[in-house]
C-alpha cells in the first residue's frame, strides 16, 4: 500500500510512487492470442473452452439430473418387482426404451433450447389454451401420483429404520415444505442427493451376486413376450417409470434454466444421451441385483421394502436393510421436494401467474398454494393405513405410462414445427424413433387397458 508523504508531493512533478507488485506474483494463465485489426494481443481474460473429457463434464447437468430422477421410489419398486418376478426377462424392454427415452428427452431439451419456453407454454402457444389446460391436467395428475409415491417411499424407508410412517411422513412433508418455501432448500438438496448415491450399491451388489451373465445377455437382447397380465402390467410399469411426462417437462425447463441458446445447442445432446444411458444402466443393475438374489431363490413377489432391500445383501449382508433405507429416503425426499416445485412452476407458467419461491403469499397465491396442496395431498394419501406399498408404486407408474402418449404426441408435433424450432426441427431418425416410441407405448397401454377391462386371464392382479 502506497501513501505518498506530503513533503514529496509538494515537489514539482513527483509522480505517485507506483504501488509495489504483490509479494507473490499471481500465476497468469496462458490466455488466448487474438489478432485484432493487425495488432496481436494476449487476452488473459478469455478462456479456452474445455476440450475432450472436460468438455463433456462441463456439459453434464440437466440430462443427468433428469435421468437420475427416474430412479426414485417408484423406480426402485418397479425395477425390484420386475427382477423378482421375471428375472432378466424384461431387460430387453429396458434396452429398447433406453433408445426411445434418449430420443424423447433429446427432443425436450431441443425444444427448450430452441424456444426458451417450457413444454406447457409451447403447447399453449401452438395448440391453444384448451389443449394446454388438458396437458396441464395430465401433468398434474401424473405428478400428484408420483409425489404420493415419493411419500410412500419415505414412509417405507422409515419402516426399515423402525420409525412409524405415521410420524415420519408428516414430518418429512413439513420439512420439505418449510425448506422449499423458506428458501433454504439448496444445501439440503445436496444431502438428499448424497443419500441417494447409496443406490450405487446396486451395481456392486449385482456383480457380487454372481448372476449368470449369459442369461442376463439373453434377457437384454432376445425379446420374449409372455401373454400374462402380470407381465403386461409390469411391462407398462417399466415404460411408465422409465419414460415419464415429468422427466420431459423437467429436462426442458432445466435446459431453459441453464440458459442454452439455440445457436449453441449442438454439444448439449451429449448431456442428454449420457444422462439417459447412465440412468437406465442403474435401473438395469437394480433388476439384475434383484433377479440374482430374490428371483433365483424363488421369491417372485415383493410386497414390502424390506424384501426389496434383500437385493443388496450380497454387498452389505445384514446391513442391506439400512443401506437400502438410506438410499430410498434420500431419493424419495429429493423427488418429494423437486416434483411439487416443478409442477407448480410449470402450471403457474402456462397460465401466466407469478411463480418462484421468493414470492409472498399474497402475490404467489397460486404457485405457493399449488405447491402446498401437492405436498399435503401426497403425504396425506401416503398415510392411508395398510397400503400395499410396492403394488401401489407400480400402479402409479402404470398411470404415468397411460398419460404418457398424450404428452409424447405434443412433443413430437412441437419438435416438428419449423416455425417454432427453426433449424432445430426433428430429423427423420428422430421421427422414426419418436413415433415408434409413441406407437409402442400406446400399444402397450391399450393392451393393458383392454386386458384389465376384459379380465381375459381372470386373475386378480393386486394381491
Amino acid at each position: 500500500m502506497t501513501v505518498t508523504p506530503a513533503e514529496e508531493a509538494s515537489e514539482a512533478f513527483v509522480p505517485v510512487e507506483p504501488p509495489p507488485l504483490p509479494a507473490a506474483r499471481p500465476r497468469l494463465g496462458p490466455g488466448i492470442r487474438v489478432n485484432v485489426q493487425g495488432r496481436s494481443v494476449t487476452l488473459r481474460r478469455l478462456r479456452r473452452p474445455p476440450a475432450g473429457v472436460f468438455r463433456l463434464l462441463a456439459l453434464l447437468g440437466p440430462g443427468l439430473i433428469a435421468g437420475a430422477a427416474g430412479d426414485d421410489a417408484g423406480g426402485v419398486a418397479t425395477y425390484s418387482q420386475i427382477g423378482a418376478q421375471f428375472g432378466y426377462q424384461l431387460l430387453w424392454v429396458l434396452v429398447l426404451i433406453t433408445v426411445s427415452l434418449a430420443a424423447v428427452q433429446e427432443m425436450s431439451a431441443r425444444l427448450g433450447a430452441a424456444t426458451g419456453s417450457g413444454l406447457l407454454d409451447l403447447i399453449r402457444q401452438r395448440f391453444g389454451v384448451g389443449w394446454a389446460f388438458l396437458a396441464a391436467a395430465i401433468v398434474l395428475v401424473a405428478n400428484a401420483g408420483l409425489i404420493m409415491s415419493e411419500f410412500v417411499g419415505i414412509g417405507a424407508a422409515g419402516d426399515l429404520f423402525g420409525i412409524s410412517p405415521a410420524l415420519l411422513v408428516p414430518l418429512a412433508a413439513l420439512v420439505v415444505w418449510y425448506l422449499v418455501i423458506g428458501g433454504s432448500y439448496g444445501p439440503v438438496e445436496k444431502i438428499f442427493l448424497a443419500m441417494s448415491l447409496v443406490f450405487f450399491a446396486y451395481p456392486v451388489a449385482a456383480i457380487l451376486a454372481h448372476p449368470r451373465w449369459t442369461a442376463v445377455a439373453r434377457g437384454a437382447f432376445v425379446p420374449t413376450i409372455q401373454p400374462s397380465s402380470a407381465y403386461i402390467l409390469l411391462l407398462v410399469g417399466l415404460i411408465g417409470t422409465t419414460i415419464t411426462p415429468y422427466q420431459q417437462l423437467f429436462q426442458q425447463s432445466a435446459v431453459v434454466e441453464k440458459g442454452v441458446a439455440r445457436g449453441s445447442y449442438g454439444p448439449e445432446r451429449a448431456d442428454t444421451y449420457v444422462g439417459m444411458v447412465f440412468s437406465n444402466l442403474m435401473s438395469a443393475f437394480m433388476i439384475i441385483a434383484t433377479a440374482a438374489t430374490l428371483h433365483v431363490a424363488g421369491k417372485t413377489n415383493i410386497a414390502t421394502a424390506a424384501e426389496a432391500a434383500q437385493a443388496l445383501q450380497p454387498l452389505a449382508g445384514s446391513a442391506a436393510k439400512a443401506l437400502f433405507a438410506v438410499g430410498l429416503l434420500g431419493a424419495s425426499a429429493l423427488a418429494a421436494a423437486v416434483l411439487p416445485l416443478a409442477t407448480a412452476y410449470a402450471i403457474s407458467e402456462v397460465f401466466g401467474f407469478p411463480k418462484g419461491v421468493n414470492l409472498d403469499f399474497r402475490r404467489g397465491r397460486f404457485f405457493l398454494g399449488l405447491f402446498t396442496v401437492l405436498v399435503v395431498l401426497g403425504a396425506g394419501l401416503a398415510l392411508i393405513p395398510h397400503l400395499p406399498v410396492i403394488q401401489l408404486l407400480v400402479w402409479i407408474q402404470v398411470l404415468n405410462a397411460i398419460l404418457l402418449p398424450v404428452i409424447l404426441w405434443f412433443i413430437l408435433r412441437l419438435a416438428n414445427d419449423r416455425r417454432l424450432v427453426g433449424e432445430l426441427h426433428n430429423s427423420r431418425a428422430d421421427n422414426v424413433l419418436g413415433y415408434g416410441t409413441f406407437a409402442l407405448v400406446t400399444a402397450a397401454v391399450l393392451v393393458l387397458v383392454a386386458n384389465q377391462l376384459l379380465g381375459l386371464v381372470g386373475v386378480r392382479l393386486l394381491g
Binding site: 502506497t2 505518498t4 512533478f13 504483490p22 485489426q37 481474460r45 424456444t115 426458451g116 402457444q125
Partner: protein, 423 residues
Amino acid sequence: MGAVGMRRSMVMLSRFLHAPIVDRRGHRASLADVAVDPNADCPPVTRIVYRQRGMLVALPWQDRSGEPAPHGVLNVGDLDTGEPVAPEAAAREVWLRRDVLDALLIDVVALRTLRANDVWLEVVGGRLSLRAVDGSAWGIVRRLTHGLVNRDHNLKLVDWTAVEFLRGDPAAAARGAAYLGRIRRLPPGEIARLIEFLPYLHAVELLLLLPESLAAHTLESMTPERQVQVIEELEDTSAVRLIAHMPPDAAADLIARLAPDTARRYLQQMPPAARDRVVELLRYPADVAGGIMTNELIAVPATLTVAAARQALRQQLAAPELAYYVYVVDNERDRRLRGVLTLRTLLLADDAATIEDVMDPYLVAVNPLEPAARAAQRVVDNQLFALPVVASDGRLVGAVTVDAAVATIAPANWRAQAPRVFS
C-alpha cells in the same frame, strides 16, 4: 391506474371471435382475427379478418351504434368485397388473436409479467376498442367454458394503457412490426429484472424495442448467463453496437464469457476507441485488480489552471460512469498519476489556481496484478468510491470502483441485489 374493474359494457374477445359474420345477401363467414390500431391508448378495431376460399381477407370495421352483441352476429355489407391480406403488411399489424390473446405481456405499472388469458373490448368514444386484459385464472375458466362459468364482480383487469405485449419472435421486432413501446419508460434495471422472467427469445425481442443506449444499459444490468444467451441471439451488428455502448468494464465482462471465436469476431467489428479500451481490460485475468477495474476515467494534466481544466473536462465528462473523481496526471502521454481531486473541489476552486495546487496528493493506489479480492477489500476499507490502478511504471491504467469491489467480495446471491453507485 393500471387496473380496471369489469363492466357490463365490455365484450370478451374470445366470445367475439366466435360470432359469425353475415352479409346483406345472407352469406356467412367465421371471424379469423381482429386488427386494431395500436397507436391509440385504447386501440380501436380497424379491420376484421376472415377466411374466404382458403384465403385470408379483411373488411374495414364500421362501428354501428351501440355495442356488438356477443351472442349475436356481426353484420357486414358484402363479404365478397373483402380485400386479400398481404402477408408482409399483416405481419406488421397488431392482430388480437394472433398477437395479443395468450401472449406474454408486461404490466409496466405493476411491473410484472402476465399472460393475456382473455382480452376485453369496449366501446370507447363511439368505437369498439381494446380496453383491458385479464391475467387471472378466471380469464381461462371463462374462455374454456365459453362464458358459462363467470365471475364478474371484483375482477381486476389490467388496463391496456399499462401493457406492453411481446410476440416471442425477435425477427418481428427487427422487421419493424408494431409494438406499443411503453416499456421504454422504465429504467434499465427494472427492465432487466422483468426480462429475467421471460423466455430468452422474448428477452431479445424486448431488447430490440429499446433505443440503443437504454438497450445497452439494460443488457448491462442482466445476469451474466442471460447476457450471453441474448447477445448470441442478436445479429452481429446489433450485438457489437450494444457492446460498444456499454462501459468498457461491463463490455469486457461480457466478452470474457463468450467463446473465443465469438469474442474475436465482436472485437474486430467494434469501433476502434471502444475496442482499445476493452482489449486493454481483457489483457488481465479475472482474478487480479486489472480484471475488475474500469479504464474509462477522467484525467487532467497537473499543470492546467482550474479554469482550463473545467473547459478541458467538458468533453471527457460525457461518457464515464465513474465521474466523481478527476485523476491528475503529469501529461496526457505518460499519464503518471500525481493526485486526485473531486468534481466538487474542481467546481469550488479558484479559477486561476493550477490543478496541482488544489489536488489531493495523498493517494492509495492498487497494482493491476494485485489479487482482485485484496484490491476490492482495500476499496471497501478505504471507504472510497474508487481506488486508482497504477502500473509498475507509474502509469494510471484504471480504477477499481466500489461497485466492482462489492461485486467481487459479496456472496453471489447478494450480488444481484446490491445497489450500484456508478450506473
